[in-house]
Amino acid sequence: MSTITADAHAHAHVEHAHAGSFLSTYVFSRDHKIIGIQFLFSTLLWFFVGGLLALGVRWQLAYPWSEMPVLGKLLFAEQGGQIAPETYTMLFTMHATVMIFLVIIPILAGAFGNFLIPLMIGAEDMAFPTLNMLSYWFMWPAFIAFGASFFVDSGPGAGWTSYPPLALTMTPQVLWLIGLTCVGVASMMGSVNYLTTIIQMRAPGMTMFRLPMTIWAMFITAILQAFALPVLTAAGFMQLADLTLGTGFFIPEGWSANNTPHFAGGGQPLLWQHLFWFYSHPAVYIMILPAMGMVSDMISTFARKPLFGYKPMVYSIAGIAGLGFIVWGHHMFVSGMNPVLGMTFMVATMFIALPSAIKVFNWLGTIWGAKIQFTTPMLFALSFVSMFIIGGLSGIFMAATPVDIFIHDTYFIVAHFHYVLFAGTAMAVFGAIYFWFPKMFGRMMNDSWGKLHFFLTFMFLNGVFYPMHILGMVGFPRRLADPYHYETFRHLLPLNQFITWCAILMVASQIIFIVNFFYSIFFGPTAGRNPWHANTLEWQAPSPPGHGNFDFQPVIYRGPYEYGSPEVDTDYYPQTQPPPQQGTPYSPSGH
């Protein structure tokens, strides 16, 4: 009986959702799920662009000044296809910019945050649906500004950190800063919304300590954004004023470059670095915490076992976030900052490794004594743990200030943050796409192709990023268009060619994912409500959920990770299922 009513209810919701025009339903939608999927598609598109930019960088490092495929032919046919050095600086600048501001941050908070938060806490939608829509549409000025900046001069070339005074010598930096500000505004709208929704709109019985880790991570990420972003936005406006209005926040007295004097002065270039990293270090955690949350959910689900140490996990996320505000100086150990500050930042940085270690141990504790199902999302989640260990441990090297003197701005750093951001976050995102795909589109992705995609990506990403540690040990610096000018690095060319070919193959392997993704949207086998037999709330809603999400009023009885509970016969125990002694168990449709 209940099944029929529930379905009819869902149907009514779907009808309601389709009542508006195409534009208001799919384009200017205020439904958090549509907005999440809009974020997902936009960011995946930019992910592709960012990957190609990286291949350009890699090509130059493997075959310096030889004819670059596509790009060289397109822009520099008269030069024999070899790119210009300022194009190389544009390539790595825009690779980082696109990947950080247009892919990782929006895909975590924008795509998954939007899609999952109301579903996982049992809300109908976000607290402020219009604001939510605006947070997506404020990404578009950023897309346009960043996209247009490619075509001004030779594109932005001051690195993703846009350090003045170099940045002040470049016109495209104006568009770059406008883009950055719009991303900031969009994130800000999102974070306000997430905080309010999580605090105010939880379903009955959903106490804070019954929230899934994903939601905890999104919650703390939103706090980080709310407190750190205003600083970056202000700093961005200051640099914009230096560029266009002739102020001198970041310009020392009597400064000139490229034989062009700048009349304002009295500023300090290091001020930008402080302001920038005051945001961007917490941003590093904005880029990893939600991934950690999602990985915790996936690991517990497929280990069929409760998450080991739920509360320590929550506290360690909070610890990372708190410490994250007082470690920004570790990006500036050799910047000319007072060395005493370097020492204090070093101690704080050492301690931020602690909560990360606790999380790793707890994930290992979770799969200890489990019954692991090696599904595609589980493989990605486990690889996250495996790769995060490397990324976390390599961080200790650069936290050690004397060692950082040597490895700062070398490929050791590049290896470190790619292990965290690509091998960590991006792999978690892939896993999350495979995991929540049935909920988003109502169909399953192909598991065998998914596993092949995982295997190739995993192999090649290690081929790309692991040898970079070795490059860094030789002192191989970042951002050089032709490092082989230096005798010290001349013998590293073959290793760089190996890395480049791994990178090309890694990008090529993503074709499997793209095909699988689009094929499954239309032709994948239909998924029920709960294809993974998971506990969390979103799996009790229809797949895909209609407008308003739930076809019943969810009531929460327990935490999200009661897998293998002796209380029930099944190895999972949904959060909405009343305990057996409290009358008839509620059975949502789809089983």
Partner: protein, 463 residues
């Protein structure tokens, strides 16, 4: 701090707006945006298919258009140059040029290393992105540099030891490659092995000769006023071949061959001794100072400014920018001519009208050509006199270098020669006086100014 005496203003914003407006006026941003977008979309499907065409030497199009060289003749000139000098990938030098073919081959072509680690394609690895494949100073990086990279094709070099009109010696070019040009984007290449430097010098001379030859050919065709139908084929026309090889070529080569004899030799009697006391140096510098401010002789103050900060006359151009300014001005007057022609057209009839229509068509075509060229031209910039208190000397800091600079001026720029124009001629200053100016110039960075430049703020270091 106001260093140059200009009014502080919203520099960057103005530059930004100006550049955007200029670009939009020529539709080049829109054009290039659309072109790149279309090309990117098209190329996305053609990843890595085939090699692109080997790069070719470009003709100096503004010069060609300004001289009204017909397209047939443009091709003929390119063919003659190709036969004489080869291509960027396969350069060769006629024996008359005196260039070393082996060195040219090392410097030219795409970048690669042979099995023994020998480097090839040196010019494209180190130079081409600024100075351009053709040596025209129009590489992709050129537009963002200030000053712009040198265009070798005129054969005029700024920093050299020879008389104003002379060509530089190999040593002069080697000195520039060794030290770079401080306070410009030209870095030092001192760390390249001597044989690579020698190869690059050879190639720069090669590009320069090729460019001078091109100019000579363009001027010849213009002077002779050939009809477009007249073929210019030296293979079929022995007379033309003779003119090219014996008249034009010889004229170009003469300067390069005689470079060694053109060096300005300081007279032993005029050279100040090395063991002067500080008082003697100060005395000499004081005399130099008088010349610096002298109204008739010297008169350095006119451009370098009363404080030597380079804030005197700043609105002149060097030859390279002047040519562009001239081209733009001519184009502007052409716009007027075309408008006049259009207005007059209605007053005319019969044959007169036909002739006017033909003229209008030709002029409109030229105008369109010129506009296209201006869109890709480096925006002309003024030649800014050196700030002599800065302590950086573009052509070298040795007294001898500065002596040469004052004596021969800086070829191609508003900096005039104060010494003789050729051996035995009379200059405005004697060598003694030039040496006094050298002493004054050397003392300038240490001379007190009424607006002292503030030293960098010391950072607190912890002891």
């Amino acid at each position: 701090m106001i260093l140059t005496g200009r009014i502080p203003r919203l520099v960057h914003f103005n530059l930004f707006v100006d550049s955007v407006m200029v670009e939009f006026r020529n539709y080049s941003v829109v054009q290039s945006f659309c072109r790149r977008l279309v090309a990117a979309l098209a190329a996305a499907g053609l990843v890595g298919c085939g090699q692109s065409d080997p790069p070719a030497f470009r003709l100096d199009m503004p010069k060609v258009v300004a001289n009204g060289i017909a397209p047939q003749h443009q091709r003929a000139i390119a063919n003659i140059l190709g036969a004489m000098f080869g291509t960027p990938d396969n350069p060769f030098a006629l024996p008359e040029t005196g260039l070393d073919q082996r060195k040219l081959a090392t410097a030219a072509g795409p970048v690669w290393s042979d099995a023994e680690g020998g480097k090839h394609g040196l010019y494209r690895r180190h130079c081409a992105h600024c100075h351009g494949i053709s040596g025209d100073g129009l590489g992709p990086t050129a537009a963002i540099l200030n000053p712009y990279p040198r265009d070798y094709r005129s054969g005029v070099f700024k920093f050299k030891s020879t008389y104003t009109a002379g060509q530089p010696t190999d040593d002069d070019l080697r000195r520039i490659l060794h030290d770079g040009i401080p306070s410009t984007a030209m870095p030092s290449f001192a760390l390249l092995p001597p044989d690579e430097i020698a190869a690059l010098i050879e190639y720069v001379k090669y590009l320069s000769m090729r460019g001078q030859m091109e100019t000579a050919l363009v001027n010849y065709v213009f002077d002779e006023g050939f009809e477009p139908e007249v073929p210019l084929d030296p293979a079929a026309d022995p007379e033309l071949k003779d003119i090219i090889m014996n008249d034009l070529m010889a004229g170009v080569m003469e300067g390069w061959g005689a470079a060694g004899e053109q060096v300005i030799l300081p007279e032993d009697s005029a050279i100040p001794p090395d063991d002067r006391t500080p008082e003697q140096i100060a005395e000499s510098a004081a005399k130099g100072r008088e010349l610096f401010y002298g109204a008739t002789k010297g008169n350095c103050v006119k451009c370098h400014g009363p404080t030597g900060l380079g804030d005197g006359q700043q609105d002149d151009y060097d030859n390279w920018n002047k040519a562009n300014v001239q081209f733009i001005d001519d184009t502007k007057s052409l716009v007027g001519e075309v408008q006049d022609l259009k207005q007059n057209l209605s007053n005319l009839a019969g044959e007169e009208r036909e002739a006017a229509e033909l003229e209008l068509k030709q002029k409109s075509q030229e105008l369109a050509d010129r506009r296209k060229l201006i869109a890709h031209m480096l925006t002309p910039r003024n030649a800014i006199p050196r700030n002599l208190r800065d302590g950086s000397y573009r052509g070298g800091r040795r007294p001898l270098d500065i002596f040469w600079r004052v004596s021969a001026g800086i070829a191609g720029t508003p900096m005039p020669a104060s010494g003789p124009a050729s051996e035995g001629a009379q200059g405005t200053l004697t060598q003694e006086e030039i040496w006094q100016i050298v002493d004054y110039v050397h003392s300038l960075p240490f001379e007190r100014v009424n607006q002292p430049q503030r030293r960098p703020v010391n950072v607190e270091t912890v002891n």
